[in-house]
C-alpha cells in the first residue's frame, strides 16, 4: 500500500533513517584502493558501497569503433547477489537491469570524459553493498576512479538521486525510500551542467523544476565533499613522497 509507505517516509519531519529531507547520507571515498587497476575508487553512500575500477585507456578493438565515435567507453556494472538483502537472485551476464545501469553510466561519462583523447577505456563498477541510489553512487565512484586513473575530464562529475514526497524534495534516497515508488530523479552534473537526468516513477511536470534545482545543489555538495577526499588523498601522497 503506497499510502502507508508515503506517510512513513516523512514522519515527524524526518526520514526513516533520521535524516532531514535535505540531508545527504554519509559520503566517504577512498581512491587508489586497487593497485592493479589504472584507477580505482571505493565509495560509500551511507550503506551503499561501491568499488569502481578503471582499466585503460587501452587500444580499442576495431569492431568496437563506430564511424562516429572513435572512443569506446565500456562500463560494466555488476551487482552481485550478496549486495542487498532483499534482492538475492543471481544476475547473469546479460541481465538487462545491470546493462541498463551500465549504459546510463556510459552516457553520463560520455559527456564528461574527453573522449577524443582516448581510444578505449573499460570501466568496471562493482556494487559491494547496496542501499539505494546505486546509479548515482556508481557515477560518483566512476568519476573518482577516472580521476585516479588520470583520465582527462571536463570537470568533476557528481551525481545524486532526489525524490519527491509530501511537497518536499528528498536528497539521496536510500533503498527503503526507493522501494516506495516515489517519483525520483537521478541527476549527474558537472558544475551546473546536467549531463544525465533520469526519472523513476511518474513525476509531475510542476515538480521537476524544484527537484532539478535541489539535485544540482546537492550535486555541488557531493562534488565538494568528494573533492575534499581526493585532495586529502593527494596531499597524503605528497607527504609520502616528500618524506621519502
Amino acid at each position: 500500500n503506497p499510502d502507508s509507505l508515503m506517510t512513513d517516509i516523512l514522519l515527524n519531519g524526518r526520514r526513516v533513517d533520521g535524516r532531514r529531507p535535505n540531508e545527504h547520507r554519509l559520503l566517504r571515498a577512498q581512491l587508489g584502493t586497487q593497485p592493479q587497476a589504472d584507477g580505482s575508487a571505493l565509495l560509500e553512500h551511507g550503506n551503499s558501497r561501491l568499488l569502481a575500477t578503471v582499466h585503460g585507456p587501452a587500444q580499442a578493438r576495431a569492431a568496437d569503433l563506430s564511424p562516429e565515435e572513435d572512443c569506446v567507453l565500456r562500463v560494466l556494472y555488476n551487482k552481485p547477489p550478496f549486495a542487498s538483502m532483499t534482492e538475492r537472485r543471481r544476475r547473469g551476464r546479460g541481465d538487462r537491469k545491470q546493462d541498463e545501469t551500465a549504459l546510463l553510466i556510459e552516457e553520463a561519462l560520455g559527456g564528461v570524459v574527453l573522449k577524443q583523447l582516448y581510444r578505449r577505456s573499460q570501466i568496471e563498477i562493482r556494487v559491494l553493498q547496496s542501499d539505494g541510489s546505486e546509479l548515482s553512487a556508481a557515477i560518483n565512484a566512476v568519476s573518482l576512479a577516472l580521476m585516479d586513473a588520470g583520465v582527462a575530464m571536463r570537470g568533476h562529475l557528481a551525481a545524486v538521486t532526489v525524490g519527491y514526497c509530501d511537497q518536499a524534495p528528498l536528497v539521496d534516497l536510500n533503498s527503503y525510500e526507493q522501494s516506495a515508488g516515489l517519483p525520483s530523479l537521478t541527476v549527474a552534473c558537472v558544475g551546473q551542467r546536467v549531463l544525465h537526468a533520469s526519472v523513476g516513477a511518474r513525476l509531475h511536470s510542476q515538480q521537476l523544476d524544484p527537484l532539478l534545482a535541489c539535485a544540482s545543489r546537492a550535486c555541488a555538495c557531493v562534488a565538494n565533499q568528494l573533492g575534499q577526499d581526493v585532495k586529502a588523498h593527494l596531499l597524503a601522497a605528497c607527504c609520502f613522497q616528500s618524506a621519502a
Binding site: 500500500n1 502507508s4 506517510t7 515527524n12 519531519g13 524526518r14 533513517d17 533520521g18 535524516r19 535535505n22 540531508e23 545527504h24 547520507r25 554519509l26 593497485p35 592493479q36 589504472d38 551511507g46 550503506n47 582499466h55 585507456p57 587501452a58 587500444q59 578493438r61 576495431a62 538483502m85 532483499t86 564528461v112 574527453l114 577524443q116 583523447l117 582516448y118 581510444r119 578505449r120 542501499d131 580521476m147 585516479d148 588520470g150 583520465v151 582527462a152 575530464m153 571536463r154 570537470g155 568533476h156 558537472v190 558544475g191 551546473q192 544540482s216 545543489r217 555541488a220 555538495c221 565538494n224 581526493v230 585532495k231 593527494l234 601522497a237 605528497c238 609520502f240 613522497q241 621519502a244
Partner: protein, 1596 residues
Amino acid sequence: AAAISLEGVGGAYIICLGLYVCGGLVLLVELLWLASNFVRLEVAHRGAPEIGAQRDRHEELLSTDGVRPAHSKPLRSAVPELEAAQVSGQRFAGKCGRPWHQPLPAARRSKEIRSSRLGSADDTPQDGDKSSPQDRMTSKISLRLHQAVLGRGRPPGRGELLVDAGGPGRKFVRSLGVVLANELLLLGEQQLLLGLSNKADDGEGQREEAGEVGEAGAGVGEAEPVVVRPRHPPPVEAVQAHEDDLDEDGAAGQQVHGAAQLELLEIGRQLLDAPLGDVAVAGEAADDHCGDDEEDEGEDGQHLHSVEPGRVQPAADVVVLGVVDVPAAVVGLGHIVLGVQVAFEAGGPQAEAEEGALHLRLQLDPVGRHEGHKVQDAGQHSADKHATEGEVPRQAGPKVWCWLHVVGAIQSELQDVMRWTIWPMASASLCADAPVLMATQRANKHILLRLDRGRRVRLVREVYLRSDVPCCSELCRRGCQAPADGCASLPAALTHYVLPDCAAARAYWELFELPEVEGVLLTLTSLHHIQGAGGRRLYNRVKSQLRDPRQSTALFDNEFQAECWRDRRPGESEDQHAAGLNWSAARWYAQHLDYAIPIVLVTDGTVEPCQPEDKGGVDVLSVADYVARFHGDKPQVTQIFESLRASLAAAEAASSAEGSAGESTRGDYPEHLSAESLKAGVKSGQFLQGCLHVSRKSGQDTAVVSLSGGAQMLELKASRGEILIVGQRDRNRAVHGDIVCVQLLPKASWAQPVEGEQQTADSAAAPTGRVVGIAQRNWRDYVCSVEPAADGSSKDSGASKRILAVPWDRRVPKIRIATSQAAALASQRFVVRIDAWPADSQYPNGHFVRPLGAVGHLETETQALLIEHGLAVREFSAKQLAELPAVTEDQPWQVDPQEVAKRRDLRQSHLVFSIDPVGCVDVDDTLSVRVCVPVSEYPWVYVPVSEYPRVYLPVSEYPRVCVPVSEYPRVCVPVSEYPRVCVPVCLCPIILDSVCQCPNILESRCQCPNILESRRLDNGNIELGVHIADVTHFVKANSLCDIEARQRCTSIYLADRRYDMLPLLLSGNLCSLWSQVDRYAVSVIWELTPDTEVVSVWYGRTVIRSAYKLFYEMAQRIHDGEAMETAVPDIPELAPLLKRDRDLLRRRFAQLREAVSLLVGVANTIKARRMACGGLELEGVEVQAKFADPERTQLEDLVIAECMIFANHWVARKIVAYYPSQSCLRRHPPPRQEFFDSLIRCAQARGFTIKADSNRQLAESLDSCVDPADPEVNRILRTLATQAMSNALYFSTGALPRDQFAHYGLALDLYTHFTSPIRRYADILVHRCLLAALGDSEAEDALLPNQELEAQCCLMNERHRAAQHAQMASMQLFQCLFFRARPPTDPLRLVEAVVCQVRDSSIGVFVPRYGIKGSVRLARSDGSVLDAGPPARDLRSVQAAPPLAEAAPDGCGPRWIPAGSGASVSRDPSGGSLRVSTGPEQKQQVYSLFDHLVVRVSVAESHSHGPALQLDLVARLVSKDAGAADAGGGGKADLVRQVREREEQQEEERRRDLKRRQGEEEGGQQHLLQSTGTLYHFLLDTARRDAKRRRGSGQD
C-alpha cells in the same frame, strides 16, 4: 582562413594549444587537454591506410611477449608514418632514461597501454619493470610548490605550482586539473604550470595527411606526434636555488601576498569596466623576437612582450602546450587568465635532441581582450631538471615565435571556457546557501523481518544520530525545535507524561487513545514495534492519533537522538534492546526537561528490561498499576483496561491451550492465502477482488462481492459485476465491508441469486464464488448486545467469562468477547471491537469497549445509530472553543471596524433578508434583490438635509466636491446633473437609502463601490445578491476547529436533534445571519437583465445586516398578497412599528413585498431557464430539506433553492477558472440506462411512457406522468427515478477529466456547494478556494493540493451518505417508538399505502401519511400464502378489522392459507403485477403498481437489532380514497414531538425510581461499575442533560 579547434576546453585549467600555421594564412589553434600526444597518435592512426595487414604484424609483436592478452586488441599502428612516431617514442624513452609512463605491474597491460599512448608496442623499458613498488610510489607523484615571481608587471607573490607530469603521477595532474587545481589556486593562488615539454618532429609528408584528417577542422594539423615528455623534478637544492633567484628578482615575494590579491582584484575590476574591445590578437613574429628571447634567457627566463596585433607570419611547426592559470580573484570577477606554456621545436627532422620550451602567458578577460603576455623560456627549467638526469638539453634558438591569434570566433568559446572555469566558485557559493547537508554521525540498526512462509530477512538500516531531535514538550527550556507540522506537542499543564513500553503500547493502545489519558509520549522504538508486531491497522490508528492535534500524544524520535541511542549488544534480543532504548529515552527526557515533570514508563512486564542502576527520575509502573494509580477514578479507563486485559488473557489461554494440545486447527474454515499469492492471483485473473456486502434481508447466509475493477468477464457483466457467496464456509470469515479476494466456482455450482427487483422469471444462476483471502479488513466499532439467556443461569460476575455478543447490524456475525462483567452487560448495548478471527473459531474474537445504555431507550438507540453509521462525535474540547472569539451575554460580538474597512459594506445600500424553515437557527444564506429604476422616472432628487450632511456626486463627472451642508440648508440637484441613482424598488420617495455614505468624497471615485454601482445599474437591470455567512473568517485553516470540522464533514440532523459541524457559538451565533445584526458574509452579486441574462458577477467579502428573517410560510403569505395588517404582527422586525410609525411601516412593508415578489420572479425565470436545459426535479437528489418537515411550502423553498443553485454554479465557474486542478466541485454522473428499466416498466403499467435518453427527456416525461386522480403516482415515479441515479459526489477537479464535471440532475456543467458553510465542510473548502481566487493570500496558503483534496472529498462523500442514512434510521426509530406505544387497535395504525414495487413474494409499499416505505409479505417461507379477502371500499370501512390472525373467518379479512392447499404466488412476466391465487377455486388477487391498500403498522421488536416497522395487509382498496393521504393529523414533526414528550416522561419516572432505589441502596456501598443501574443511569443522566441543553439552544 583560420580553423580553430577548441576541443576539450571544458573545466580546463590545463589547456594545450596546438598551433599550426600553414601558408602564412592559416592559423590553427588547438586547445587540448594536457596530453596532446594522444591527439597526435590519433592523427597517425587515422592516417593509417589499411588496417588488416597491420593487425597481423601487431599480433606478432604481441606474441613475442609470450602471452596473448585476454582481450587483445589489434593495434592499428605500424603504418610507415607511424613508424617514425614509434621510433621517436622509442628514442625518447631511451634518452630519458626513465620512461614517462611508469610501467604498471602487469607487464602486458602496461605494454598495451603504452603502445596505445606512444604508438609503439615493443617499447618496454626494462628499468620500469624492475622498479620496486617503493619507486613506483615515489615516482607516482611529484608535486612541487614554490614561490616564484613570474613576471615583471605582475604582482609579486604569486605562487607557482609545478607539477611533474611524469610517470603515473600524471594522472594526479589530471585529477588536479579536474578537481583540485582550482582549490589549490584558491588556497594559495598558485599558478599551475605543467612541466611538460614537447618533442616534435618535422614531417612534411604527414602534413598532407593532416589535411585529410582534419575533417572536424579541428583538427590538429600537426603532422607528427607530439610526445609529451615529463619534466622530472629538479632536486630540492636546485629548486631552492631557483626560488632564491626568483625571490631576489621578485619585488616582495610572499610577504606582499595580500597586497597582490588586492591588486589582482583591482585589475579585474578595471578589466570588467573596460569596454569590449576588438578581437585581441596576440602574435609576434618569431623571427623578430628570437634574439630577444635568447637575451631574456639570460635573465630569469621571463619576459613580457608587447603584442602587435595582426602580424602573422608563417613559421615552422610550433606546438603549444598550455596551462590555464586561473587566479581566484580574477575569476571571481569574471575574468579568465590563460597561461599558456609554449614548447616548441624548431629544426629539421634530425634535430630531435634540440628542444626548448617557451612559456607564453596570456591573460584574457571574458571578452577575449588580452591583457598582456609574458614569454618565458623554460629552457632554464628543463636544463635544471635534466641536469639531474645527467642530460643537458641543447638550447636552440627558436626560429619561430608562436602566434596566438585569438580571433572573433574564439570569443564565445572563451566565454564558455570562462563559464566552465567559474563553476567551482559558483558551486562553492551554491554549497553555502544550499540547504543540502551531509549527515555525519551514523549507526546501523539491524532489523529482522519475518516474511511469508517462514522466510526471514535481516535488514540493516542506517540510523543518523543528531542532537537536535525535538522533544515535543511545551515544558522544554532548551529551545528544542518545534515539532514538525502535523505532530502534536505535549502540553505543559499535566501531572505526568506517560511513556508506554513497546509491548504495553501495542497491547493497550486503546487505553492511550482515550481522551482521559493525556500526555502520552510514544517513542519511535515503540512505534516501530507496533508497526512490526501490531499490524497495519493498529499502526495506522496510532499514526492518525499522533497527527491529531486534539490528542496530546507526541512522538519522540528517540532512535535518532545521539544520547538515547545505543547499539545492540551481542546476545541481546531485539525486545531487550528496544526496552533498553525506551529506558534511556525516558531518562534522557526527564533530564532534558530538568525533572520538571515526572516521566512514567509503563511496561506490561513481558520483557525484562535491563534495569539501569540509576533510574534518573523515571517511575516504572506496570499497566495495571498505572491505571489504578493515575486513572482509578475514571471508569472509562478502568473499564477498557479490564476488557483489554481479559481479552488478552483469553487469547493467551487459547494459544497456550492449542499449543499444549498440539492439535491442529479444527478446520472450521479454510486458511486464507497469503497476501503475496492473493496479489499474484488477482493480477493473473485467477481471483477477483471486491468489497463484500452481506445481504441485510437474507441474513447470515448469502453475501455479494461487488467487484472493484468492474466486470472483466462476460458472465459477470450480466450480474453487474457482483459475485454471490453462499454460506459461511465459502464466506470464510470475511465480515461485511471487507475487501476480499474471490475465486469463482465452476458454473455447475452457481447458485440462484437473492431475490431482488431485477429478478425475472428466466433468471439464470448468478456467478458464485468463494473467498480465498482477505485483502483488507474493514472492521469498525460494532454496537452489540447480549442475547438474554434462556435459562437465566450462570450469573457468576467477577470472573472473566467469554460471551457471545450479537451485533446490532444483522450483517455482522456474532462476536465472542471475554469480559468479567457479563451480568452487567446483559440488557445493555455496548461497543465491541473485533480483534481477530482464527480459522478454527466459528466466531471472531473481540473485546468490549464501552457501554452505551440499556436496550430500547431512546438515548441508547440514538447513540447506537450514530456509531453504526460511523458518525460518533466527541464534544468540542475546551481548546477548540478557546479559538473562537469570546462572546458573553453582556458583551455581544461586534464587527471590527478594521475588518469592515476591508469589506464591501452592504448594510445601508442593500435590503438583505433570509427565508428559512420555521425554527431554523443556523441561517447561512441571505438574499438581496433590487431593480435600478431608470433615472428619467425621477426628475428631481430631493435630499433632506437633516439626514444627509453631505451629498456625493459621482466624482468622475463632477470635479466639484461635496457641498457642505452648513452652507446650504437644502441641496437640490437637478437630475441632469445627478444622472445615476440606484433606487431600491418601492423606495421612490426615499432615495436616500441608496446614496452613498462614503465619508470622503474625494476617495469615493474609486473606493466606494456603491457609486460605481449606482452608475452602472441605471438600465432597469436587476441586481440579485446571495450572501453566505463568512465562516472561513472565524475558522482559520488548520486550526483545531477546522481540523474537527474536516473530520466531521457535515452537521448531522437526526429526528430530534442535531450534531453540529462547528461549535454552537459559530453555527448558532456568529455565522448565523440573523436579522438586525451586523454579520460578515461572502457575497455573490449578479447584475441580470430583466430576462435574467447575467451581465456581470461580483464576488467578494462583505458585511451585511439582514433586515428580515422570514420563514417560508411568512414569505409565502407576503407573496400571496396578504394584507399588511394581518401579516405584520408575525414579522418580528416590523411588529414594533405597528404602533409607532405606520407610515414607515407601510413603506417598509411595501418594500419587502416588492423584493419578495421580484425574487420569486427572478428565481422562477432562472429555474425555467435551467429546466429548459434538462434540470430534473427529483425527490432528494439535491434539494435536500433542512431540518424540517418534508411537507414544505413548495414555492419559497424552491425559490431559495434555485437562488442557491445559481450561486453554487457561478462560484464553481469562478474557482474552476482559477484553480483548474484543485477545486472542490460536486458532480452527478449520468445514470446508466439499464437502471431505468424498472422505472420505465412501472410507468408502462400505468400507461405512461418515460424516455430516459437524456436528462431533458427524462424531466419532460416525468412531468407528463401525472395522474390527476392520484398524486402519488408522480411522486413514486420520481422516487424510482431517484433510485435509478447514482449519488452526487464531491470531487477534486484535478482527479477527473473535464468532461465528467457535469451535474446531471441539475443540468449544469459545473456545480459545487457554496451556500452552507455552517453545515458542510465542502462549502468551507469552496469558500477558501473562492477567496484565494479573489486574491486572498491567506486563503491561498490554505488550499489543499489535489491529492489531499480528493481524499477529503472521499471522506465528505462517505460522511454525507452516512449522515443521510443515520437521519433516515433515526426517523424510523422514532416511528417505531411512536407506534410501539399505541394500542394494537389504534386507528392510527391503519393507513393507506400505495404499491410501488413488486417482488417475488412480497410487494413494496409506500405509506404517504408517515413517509414509510416497507414491504408487505404475501407468502411466507413455510409456503403459506396470504389471502387478502375481498377488496374494501375505503379506509374507514376496514377500521374495525381485527389484527391479522392465523384463522380469520373466510371472507372478512386477510388470512394465511397454509401451504399445500393450492394457493400460490406468481409474478407477472412484465414484472408489473403479482398474482395470488388462493386455493383450488383459482380466485385470483392481483397486486399491481400504484394499487392502493390498507395496511396495519406494527412494530417488530428485536432485542439485538432494535425495533423495526412491520406492515401487514389489511385490505385492498377498490377505489382510491383521495382524502386519505391528507386525513388525520400527525406530520413528522408531530410524531417526533410526541415521542420525545413520552420519552421524557418515562425518563422522569425512571429518575424518580432511581432516586428511590439509590436511597434504598445507600448502605450497600455498591461500586459504580458493578451496578448496572447506577452506571447506566449515570450515563443516562448525562445524556439527558446534554439533550436538554441542546434543545434549549435549538429553540431560542
